[in-house]
C-alpha cells in the first residue's frame, strides 16, 4: 500500500506528475497529482472527514485545479425548470459521475450538511444522484455545487425533475405495497389457521365469526392496496380484450375475497381469505424482485445526461463569454468549447483548425482535424485546442438526436418476444377460466353447495403462479449473478435471447481493441538509444492529454519539461534539459514526409520513430476461443480501414471480417444473418453502434463506451473485460435450462393438481398452500443459479 502511495496521487490514485504537490496530512507529507486533489484532501482532513480514505473501496475522481464556472446554475430559467420548492428553500437533484462507492456518498452527505445554507442533502452511490435542498436567501446554488466540484464531484443536471420525483415515489409505493402485504398476509394466515386447526369442528359459531370478521379486516388492505397493480393490470387488459396473468390473479383474488366476504356476512361454511392474501403477497414479491434487479442495472448506465453538456459557453456580440443552459442556445450563436469538453450542438468551425474526437459518432479512433467551416457534431469532444463554433443545429436537429431516433426506430422493430409469452399466458388463462366454469357447472349438477369452492380451488391451484414466478425468479437470480461479474442486464428478456445466440458480431475499435493505441516498435537514429527516446516521448506526452499519451504511460521517467507547446494536428514541442524536442507527425518533428507514425526530432533531424498500433485487448484471443467452444460463429464489422481489420482478423482467426462499415452496413449485416435464421448478438461500444445494437437480437455494450450505445444495448459490461461475454452467454444458457426446469415443474404440478382440484379433492386453503409450495420450489431452483455461478467464480 505504502509503495503505491509513492507513485500515485493520495486522493485520486492517478500517476504522479514529475513534480507532485506534497501536502502534510496528519504530520505526514502525502503526494498529490495536482493542486485540486491536494485542496480536496486538505478540506476533507480539516472537516474531520478523513475516514473517507479508510472507508472507500475505489480511489476518488481527479479534482480539476481550476474551479469550473458554475454561475449558470444560478440562472432563473434553470432554477425554475429544475427545482421544486420545499420548506424554507428549493430542492434540486443533480447527477454526478465521480461517485464510485458508498464512501463517496457518505463524504458528499457530510460535506453538504456542513455547507452553510444547505437544509438537507442526500447522495446515492448506486444511482449517482445527489439531492440538495438549500435556502436561496442564505447561499447560491453555485456555491453549494462549487463545494461539490471542489471535492471532485462535478454536477450535471439530472433529467426532468418531475420524472425524478416520480421514480422515487414509485419505488416507495412498491415498497409500501410489499410491506403491507407481508405484514397483513402473515396476520391473515394466523387468523385463518384457527379454523384449520379446529379439526373436530368444536369451535362455536360466534367465535368462528369473530375470527372471520377480523380476517376480513386484515385481508382487505392486502387485496385492495397491495394487490392494486394486479387489479389495475387486469382492468387494463380486459379493456384491451387481452387475457393476461393479471386477469387470472386479480380474478381469483377478488373472487376468493368477495366470496369469503359474503360467507362472513351470511355465515357460510368456508372462507378463503388466506388464499387471497398469500396469493397477492407471493406474486408481489416475485414482481418486486425482478423490478429491483432491473432498476439497479439501468441506473448504473443512465448516463445519457452526460453525452451532451447541459451548459454551453456562448460568446456575446461584444466578445464577452457567458455560460448558458443548452436550451438557451440558438442557431447562429457562437459557442466556445474548451479542451476536453463535449460540443453542445451541431455547428461549423470558426477557427482555422481544431481537433475533435468523433469516436462516439463515427467509430473513428483518432481525433479528426477540422478546418474552418467544417461541420462539428454535438456530443463529440474537443481535443488539444479550444474551438469556437457557429451553431447550425440544435436540439432534435443534431446528428446525435438523429442517431437517437434511429435507435428508437430499431427498438420498435425488435421482434416482440414478450408478446409471445403473453399470448401463451392468455391461452393458458383462458383455458383455466373455461375449465373453472365447466367444473362449476358440473358440480352444480352433482353437489351444488360445493360447486363454488371446487371452482375456486381450481382457479387458485392452477394459477400460473409457479409459471409466472419461474421466469422472473430465474431472471432476477441470473441478473444478480451477472451483476457480480460486472455484466448489467439493462433490458428484461435480454438473457433469454442471449441464451439462443448463434452468431456474434464484434465491433473492433474499443471492443476487441483498447480505446488508446499501444506502442508497437521504436526505432532510434543518430546515436539516440531507444529507452532514452521513449523517456523523452513519455515526458513530452505526459501532460498533453492526447490519446497517444496513453501509449507511453508505462514509461517511468521523471524528466522535467519546460515550455511545452501543443501544435494542433501536428504534435507537441517542449524543452527537456536544455534541448528543444518535437514529437508528432514526421513533417513537424523531423522535417520528413508524413508516414502516419509518430516521430521524435528537433524539427529538422529525426531521432526516433514510434510505430503505433491499436492494442488488442489482453483477453481478446481467449475470449474468441471460449466463444468458439460454446459453438458460436464470430463476425467482425468495423468502421476502420481494410488493412487494420484484416490484420486483426488474421490474429484472431475470424473468417468473416468486414472493413469500412457504416452503422447502416452493420445493421444490414445483422439483418442478413437474421434472415438466414441466425440469432445475432452484437458487441460494440460506439454511438455509431447504437442502431445496430438495437437491431440485433441481443446486444452487449462496453461500459466505457458511449452512453447512447449503452441505452440501446441489452447488456452492459461494466469493465472492459471481454471474457465476460462468453461468461454471460454460459450463464444465460444455464438460466434458460433452469427456466425450462421450472416450467416442467409448473406444468407437472398443474397436471396433478388440476384433476385433483376438479374432482373436489382440494380445498381452497390446500390449493393456496400447494400453489405456495410450488412457487417456493421454483424460486429455490432459480436461486441455484446464484450459488452455482459463485462456485464457478472461484478458480
Amino acid at each position: 500500500m505504502d509503495q503505491r502511495v509513492v507513485h500515485s496521487c493520495y486522493h485520486c490514485g492517478a500517476r504522479l506528475p514529475p513534480s507532485p504537490v506534497f501536502v502534510a496530512l496528519d504530520g505526514r507529507p502525502q503526494p498529490f497529482c495536482c493542486h485540486g486533489c491536494a485542496t480536496a484532501a486538505q478540506w476533507i482532513r480539516d472537516a474531520d472527514l478523513g475516514d473517507y480514505y479508510r472507508l472507500r473501496s475505489d480511489p476518488g475522481a481527479r479534482v480539476d485545479a481550476e474551479a469550473a464556472d458554475l454561475g449558470a446554475w444560478d440562472g432563473k430559467e434553470l432554477l425554475a425548470e429544475h427545482t421544486v420548492p420545499v420548506d424554507g428553500g428549493c430542492e434540486i437533484t443533480v447527477l454526478t459521475d465521480g461517485m464510485r462507492c458508498a464512501a463517496c456518498a457518505w463524504l458528499v452527505d457530510r460535506a453538504l450538511e456542513r455547507t452553510p445554507g444547505v437544509l438537507d442533502a442526500g447522495a446515492n452511490a448506486v444511482t449517482g444522484r445527489i439531492r440538495i435542498a438549500w435556502d436561496p436567501a442564505r447561499t447560491r446554488l453555485s456555491a453549494v455545487l462549487g463545494q461539490l466540484s471542489m471535492l471532485g464531484y462535478r454536477p450535471y443536471l439530472a433529467g426532468d425533475p418531475a420524472a425524478e420525483r416520480q421514480r422515487v415515489a414509485d419505488r416507495r409505493q412498491w415498497l409500501l405495497r410489499l410491506g403491507v402485504a407481508g405484514l397483513a398476509a402473515m396476520q391473515t394466515m394466523m387468523l385463518s389457521e384457527a379454523s384449520y386447526l379446529d379439526f373436530g369442528h368444536h369451535m362455536s359459531v360466534p367465535t368462528r365469526d369473530l375470527f372471520r370478521w377480523f380476517t376480513l379486516l386484515v385481508c382487505t388492505p392486502v387485496v385492495f392496496y397491495s394487490g392494486w397493480p394486479f387489479i389495475e393490470g387486469a382492468w387494463n387488459g380486459l379493456k384491451r380484450r387481452h387475457l393476461g396473468m393479471d386477469v387470472l390473479v386479480a380474478g381469483s383474488t377478488l373472487l376468493a375475497y368477495f366470496a369469503s366476504a359474503v360467507a362472513t356476512v351470511r355465515g357460510g361454511p368456508h372462507v378463503w381469505f388466506d388464499a387471497a392474501a398469500m396469493f397477492v403477497f407471493l406474486l408481489l414479491l416475485a414482481r418486486l424482485l425482478e423490478q429491483r434487479a432491473r432498476r439497479i442495472a439501468s441506473a448504473q448506465v443512465d448516463t445519457l445526461a452526460r453525452a451532451r453538456p447541459v451548459l454551453a459557453v456562448r460568446e456575446r456580440a461584444d466578445g464577452a463569454r457567458e455560460s448558458v443552459p443548452l436550451s438557451a442556445l440558438r442557431v447562429g450563436d457562437i459557442a466556445c468549447v474548451a479542451v476536453g469538453e463535449a460540443v453542445p450542438a451541431d455547428g461549423e468551425l470558426l477557427d482555422p483548425q481544431a481537433l475533435f474526437e468523433e469516436a462516439l459518432l463515427t467509430g473513428e479512433s483518432h481525433p479528426v482535424t477540422k478546418r474552418s467551416g467544417d461541420p462539428v457534431y454535438a456530443g463529440t469532444h474537443c481535443r488539444e485546442t479550444p474551438a469556437r463554433l457557429r451553431i447550425t443545429g440544435i436540439g432534435t436537429a443534431t446528428r446525435l438526436s438523429q442517431l437517437t431516433r434511429l435507435v428508437e426506430q430499431a427498438q420498435a422493430q425488435r421482434p416482440p418476444l414478450a408478446q409471445l409469452a403473453d399470448r401463451i399466458g392468455a391461452v393458458f388463462v383462458g383455458g383455466v377460466l373455461l375449465a373453472a366454469l365447466a367444473v362449476y357447472q358440473g358440480w352444480r349438477l352433482v353437489e351444488p353447495e360445493r360447486a363454488f369452492e371446487v371452482a375456486l380451488s381450481l382457479l387458485v391451484v392452477s394459477c400460473p403462479c409457479a409459471l409466472s414466478l419461474a421466469v422472473p425468479a430465474a431472471l432476477a437470480a441470473a441478473s444478480g449473478a451477472l451483476a457480480r461479474r460486472g455484466i448489467l442486464p439493462v433490458r428484461a428478456g435480454a438473457l433469454d435471447r442471449l441464451a439462443r445466440v448463434t452468431d456474434l458480431v464484434f465491433d473492433k475499435t474499443g471492443t476487441l481493441t483498447r480505446v488508446h493505441p499501444v506502442l508497437e516498435a521504436v526505432e532510434a537514429f543518430d546515436g539516440m538509444d531507444e529507452a532514452r527516446a521513449c523517456a523523452l516521448a513519455a515526458a513530452l506526452e505526459r501532460d498533453s492529454g492526447h490519446p497517444i499519451a496513453a501509449a507511453f504511460a508505462g514509461e517511468e521517467e521523471h524528466l522535467a519539461v519546460e515550455s511545452l507547446q501543443l501544435v494542433a494536428g501536428q504534435g507537441l514541442a517542449g524543452r527537456i534539459e536544455g534541448v528543444d524536442w518535437r514529437l508528432g507527425l514526421a513533417p513537424f518533428a523531423a522535417g520528413r514526409a508524413d508516414d502516419g507514425q509518430v516521430w521524435l526530432g528537433d524539427g529538422t533531424r529525426a531521432f526516433a520513430r514510434f510505430t503505433m498500433r491499436e492494442g488488442l485487448r489482453a483477453d481478446a484471443a481467449d475470449t474468441l476461443r471460449a466463444l468458439r467452444a460454446l459453438g458460436l460463429t464470430v463476425h467482425l464489422a468495423s468502421g476502420d480501414g481494410a488493412a487494420a481489420v484484416e490484420r486483426m482478423a488474421a490474429i484472431l482467426g475470424i473468417d468473416d471480417a468486414r472493413a469500412r462499415q457504416r452503422p447502416e452496413d452493420k445493421l444490414a449485416l445483422v439483418h442478413e444473418l437474421q434472415a438466414r435464421g441466425r440469432t445475432v448478438a452484437m458487441v460494440g461500444d460506439g454511438l455509431n453502434d447504437a442502431p445496430v445494437l438495437a437491431g440485433a437480437d441481443v446486444s452487449l455494450a462496453m461500459g466505457e463506451g458511449a452512453a447512447l450505445a449503452q441505452r440501446a444495448a441489452d447488456l452492459v459490461l461494466t469493465a472492459p473485460e471481454l471474457m465476460r461475454v462468453p461468461a454471460a452467454i454460459a450463464l444465460a444458457r444455464r438460466t434458460r435450462r433452469i427456466i425450462r426446469e421450472n416450467f416442467a415443474w409448473a406444468v407437472g404440478y398443474n397436471l396433478i393438481a388440476l384433476p385433483l382440484a376438479a374432482m373436489g379433492r382440494v380445498t381452497p386453503g390446500w390449493a393456496a398452500l400447494g400453489m405456495a409450495l410450488s412457487s417456493l420450489v421454483v424460486t429455490l431452483n432459480a436461486l441455484r443459479l446464484m450459488r452455482r455461478s459463485r462456485e464457478e467464480h472461484r478458480p
Partner: protein, 58 residues
C-alpha cells in the same frame, strides 16, 4: 374463550402499529439507500487531536 375478544383486537392493533411504523420509515426515505448509512458504524471515534474543534456536526 372471551380472552380472544381482547387478544385478537390487540393483534390487529399491533399490526396497525407495525404497518404505521413501516409506512413512516418508507416515507422518511429509510429504505432509499441501504449502503451508505452502513458505513457510519465503521467510522472511528475522532482521535483526541485539535481537529476535534470542528467536530460540531456530529
Amino acid at each position: 374463550m372471551t380472552i380472544l375478544l381482547m387478544l385478537i383486537p390487540l393483534s390487529v392493533v399491533l399490526l396497525a402499529v407495525s404497518i404505521g411504523a413501516f409506512v413512516w420509515a418508507v416515507r422518511k426515505g429509510q429504505f432509499d439507500d441501504l449502503d451508505t448509512p452502513a458505513l457510519d458504524i465503521l467510522r472511528d471515534d475522532p482521535p483526541a487531536t485539535p481537529t476535534e474543534a470542528d467536530d460540531d456536526a456530529r
